[in-house]
Symmetry: C2
Subunit: 146 residues, 2 copies
Amino acid sequence: MQDPFMQAAIAQARKSLAEGGIPIGSVLVIDGQIVGQGHNQRVQKGSCVLHAEMDCLENAGRLKASDYRKATLYSTLSPCDMCSGTVLLYGIGKVVVGENQTFQGPESYVQSRGVQLEVLQDPECVQLMQDFIQQQPELWNEDIGE
Amino acid sequence: MQDPFMQAAIAQARKSLAEGGIPIGSVLVIDGQIVGQGHNQRVQKGSCVLHAEMDCLENAGRLKASDYRKATLYSTLSPCDMCSGTVLLYGIGKVVVGENQTFQGPESYVQSRGVQLEVLQDPECVQLMQDFIQQQPELWNEDIGE
């Protein structure tokens, strides 16, 4: 059975896909409750900074440092340099990654800075990305700066 | 005489201050032209992701990888983990920093990843931050995740 928080992140990814966007989703969990969710907004808002994790954190709003410390950020895909840097800025304690086969951010660096990182290698997350990249390789490359 | 692009970044910082916000500004320059400018939006938009550099990049819009590569990002203050990560994601070639006395992001790491970095140690940038931090230390701490 899938982690319910990763299920919620996947639901965000599917919502983005249905809107014509990039299928990556994210949720922020504090004390067992989802306090923010979001998805990639490159297509929908023409945004270059609202990756799923950033949109999720933005939707969670301004939080206290003590809340970030005990938070877990779920993302359907391994966080890139930008999103990983945001985890480090706010001292988010843990990141749960749907998959890192399609793309892998600076996971070792993030761990070396004290963040707990778990990779689920969820087949549904992998499939979402592989189908998308096959269909829209240019959009995907734009999203990761290539 | 001040660098005209840093002057533009400082103008953004002063605009933010006049709006009741955090006085950090940024501009993105490509081929000698400003293609985006912005300032911290924590107060103005209740944003936790729109640091000055992020707001600037968002305002510049969706750019090609080849444009980011030849771009220079100016910021009145040393970019934090989030903004530095964004520089790395997009492969922005150069960062010009107003000052790093008040706060220093992961400059060595950014340089080790191939980004050119120049610190101007501009007294006006230092003064802006020192006055602000003295007046609103809690807001400042929130902005850097402390």
